[in-house]
């Protein structure tokens, strides 16, 4: 039941040339359920997802959300933690008990480390503290949806003529081997695992470095430009792209 095969491609939003439509560039259409009691916030999300070519339903409380999540076939659930009637964590727990394994992203005003741990322990797959930027949310939701598709368990990732071997830890561009530091390797590995998807700075910090705080200075950009100078410098086609206002993407083909 991979969503890739199930979902028909919806029409993309008209290209306005802004950062968001850059971001939706290659993404497949997703079906999402937003369980959020703040109507304004929910409507904003529904609209924003629609503009980026996805379908989003909205449930205003925990009970309704639980019922809809049971019935509907969603790619990702976006669950607010504090909900009327039934709180978000208990909704997730109940769904997991019923063997509903739809990926869940928890949205919460509680953003400290321990809150996050609690959310993930309850069965959430990702945790995004409020306030969030939509591009961050979209990038994370896309990663979750894609994960459901069961891709990226390969031992070798390939994007264009760039090849990363996860077993031998070797990176080749064409016929040339590119030596990378261990952390650079993990950075590239994560980017290539999510090739064609936007990866935000926070996602990199969380998944490559395992930090959940905001560094005061944007250290990730420097790491990226170092990596870029190793894998793209001297090659005609750049593979590591900066997506303005959102993050980075590894993809074939210049825009």
């Amino acid at each position: 039941m991979s969503y890739l095969s199930l979902r028909s491609r919806l029409a993309k939003s008209p290209a306005t040339g802004d950062a968001l439509s850059d971001q939706v560039g290659q993404s497949e259409s997703m079906r999402l359920l937003i369980i959020e009691d703040d109507r304004d916030a929910a409507e904003y999300l529904v609209r924003a997802f629609r503009e980026t070519g996805h379908v989003a339903d909205h449930a205003a409380d925990g009970e309704e959300g639980y019922a809809m999540a049971l019935d509907g076939d969603y790619d990702v659930l976006i669950v607010d933690r504090m909900l009327p009637k039934r709180d978000g964590l208990s909704v997730i727990g109940e769904l997991r008990n019923k063997k509903i394994e739809t990926p869940v992203l928890i949205l919460s005003a509680l953003g400290q480390v321990d809150d996050r741990v609690k959310g993930l322990r309850a069965g959430g797959d990702d945790y995004l503290p409020k306030p969030y930027s939509f591009s961050e949310l979209l990038a994370r939701v896309e990663v979750l949806a894609r994960r459901r598709g069961g891709r990226n368990e390969d031992t070798v990732y390939r994007v264009g003529d760039l090849e990363l071997d996860r077993l031998s830890h070797r990176v080749m561009r064409g016929t040339e081997e590119i030596p990378l530091q261990p952390r650079e390797f993990r950075l590239l590995e994560y980017l290539m695992k999510h090739a064609g998807q936007v990866v935000t700075r926070t996602m990199l910090l969380e998944n490559v470095w395992d930090y959940h705080f905001d560094p005061q200075t944007n250290v990730i950009d420097v790491h990226i430009s170092r990596l870029r100078s190793k894998i793209d410098k001297g090659f005609s086609q750049p593979l590591l792209h900066t997506i303005r206002g959102a993050g980075y993407m590894v993809r074939e083909g210049a825009r």
Partner: protein, 485 residues
């Protein structure tokens, strides 16, 4: 029960009752012991005298026969006193003495008896007296009785008993009155304290409890409570200052945000202008969110709420990891970042928070020493260290930047303080405060020192792990050159 009931319920009064009971029991025991011993002494004396007289009279009988005995007994009987005598013939007739009648059979047995009797000069209807007597059977069937009236002993008993009764009454009365006054005095002082505390609860934090001059436990309590109030007042003052700072540092960017939006509405000519204005708006709000998150984190760390997530980990590895995260940035800024963490430094704590604290210190070190390095054109270095001494884990970050003047170091870790010279450098101004809060959470402190030149910031954490420690220890830094801890 009213005021009196309140008095009876006081601890002082209850204590009085307990002591009173103990004292009364003791007095009863003492008097009983006294009475018993007096009686024994009296009996011993009587026995001795009677024995001596019996011996003397028996000797007289042996020497001079019954005639001599009766003569002497007759003479002795006439003396006033409580001595009793009787000599009887073998047929039981009284020959001499001052005892009139006795219960029958008393004379049949020789030896000691306690009995009742009447004197010879008393008639049949008069009251019987009690006596201790010794009967001796003399040769020829004659019987000799020598004894002593016991009225004296009974009188003595009565005296002791009376003394007991009266002294018990006096003890109880005085005890109750004493307890009443002590309780009332204590109650008055406690009432005064209660009144003051109510005024304090009403909002007047400057009130203080009355302290007497006696230095007793109530005074000590009042003094301690007063010191506590001083602390609370100081903390409240600090809190107010902090909230003023928060108001200032959150409102300033909020105002800027609002002004930008307003200006865009007023002056924007086209889509590009609006777009630019919106982009800066988002940037500003992002930095506001960062500030806000940092504040929340500081508040939580200071309140000790993050202790739940503590684990064992290697602080040296954490330092290397942060160093590696910042190394490219340092290089880009013309600095070298070196990490001296040769051995594992096991620590019990929050890896995330300690990493964040180190990240802030490195971030600051790079931010403040980069301009100097650029101006001088020479490479400057930032050094991270992770070492231990006997009791502490020392995680240090030192730079060759302008440093912080000794006078400002204490202020530098306060929330939102950014020293004058750093106004032009972007940042929330919370980096050092956050590092200090993380150090506190782990039971340690953040120390700022002169790196000659530059700044050396060190997280000093106890090896034994975080312990709940009294606030007082955290307020006053042990070393005046150390930063606020």
């Amino acid at each position: 029960m009213g005021a009196l009931g309140k008095l009876f319920r006081t601890t002082a009064f209850k204590l009085t009752l307990v002591y009173l009971t103990i004292f009364a029991l003791f007095a009863v025991f003492l008097l009983g012991y006294l009475a018993f011993n007096t009686q024994r002494l009296f009996t011993d004396q009587v026995t001795e005298v009677v024995n001596a007289e019996t011996t003397g009279l028996t000797e007289q009988f042996n020497a001079g026969g019954i005639r001599r005995l009766t003569f002497i007994v007759e003479a002795r009987s006439r003396r006033p006193g409580s001595s009793l005598y009787l000599v009887t013939s073998p047929t039981g007739d009284g020959l001499a003495g001052n005892v009139g009648s006795l219960p029958t059979g008393v004379l049949d047995q020789s030896g000691w008896t306690e009995t009742v009797y009447r004197r010879i000069d008393e008639n049949e209807t008069s009251e019987l007296h009690r006596a201790l007597i010794r009967v001796s059977h003399l040769p020829g069937g004659f019987k000799l009785l020598v004894g002593r009236d016991l009225e004296e002993r009974d009188r003595l008993d009565n005296v002791v008993l009376d003394a007991g009764k009266w002294s018990a009454a006096a003890v109880i009365f005085l005890g109750l009155v004493g307890g009443f006054f002590v309780a009332r005095r204590v109650l008055r002082r406690v009432d005064a304290m209660t009144e003051t505390t109510q005024a304090i609860m009403g909002g007047d934090l400057s009130e203080r409890l009355p302290v007497g001059s006696s230095g007793d436990e109530l005074d000590r309590l009042a003094r301690n409570l007063n010191e506590m109030l001083d602390r609370i007042e100081a903390l409240m003052g600090g809190l107010k200052e902090v909230s003023d700072n928060i108001a200032h540092d959150l409102k300033t960017p909020l105002t800027r945000l609002r002004n930008r939006a307003e200006e865009a509405l007023r002056t924007a000519r086209g889509e590009d202008d609006y777009r630019a204005a919106l982009e800066t708006t988002i940037e500003e709000s992002d930095s506001l969110i960062k500030t806000f998150n940092a504040l929340l984190m500081i508040a939580r760390a200071e309140a000790g709420q993050a202790r739940g997530n503590m684990v064992e980990f290697d602080a040296a590895e954490a330092a290397r990891s942060i160093g590696e995260l910042y190394e490219p940035l340092a290089e880009e800024q013309g600095l070298t970042l070196t990490i001296a963490a040769p051995t594992a430094v096991p620590i019990h704590g929050s890896r995330e928070l300690i990493s964040q604290a180190l990240a802030n210190l490195v971030d600051n070190a790079i931010k403040y020493s980069a301009p100097a390095a650029k101006a001088a054109g020479t490479p400057s270095e930032v050094v991270m260290t992770a070492t231990t001494d006997d009791d502490h884990i020392l995680l240090g970050v030192s730079d060759r930047g302008p440093g912080i003047p000794a006078a400002d170091r204490r202020r530098a870790v306060e929330r939102f303080v950014r020293l004058e010279q750093s106004r032009s450098v972007p940042g929330s101004g919370l980096g050092l405060s956050l590092a200090a809060a993380v150090a506190h959470l782990h039971g340690g402190e953040l120390r700022l020192e002169d790196n000659e030149p530059g700044l050396r910031a060190t997280l000093i954490l106890p090896r034994s792990g975080p312990q709940t420690q009294p606030l007082a220890d955290r307020r006053a830094p042990p070393d005046p050159s150390a930063a606020k801890s």
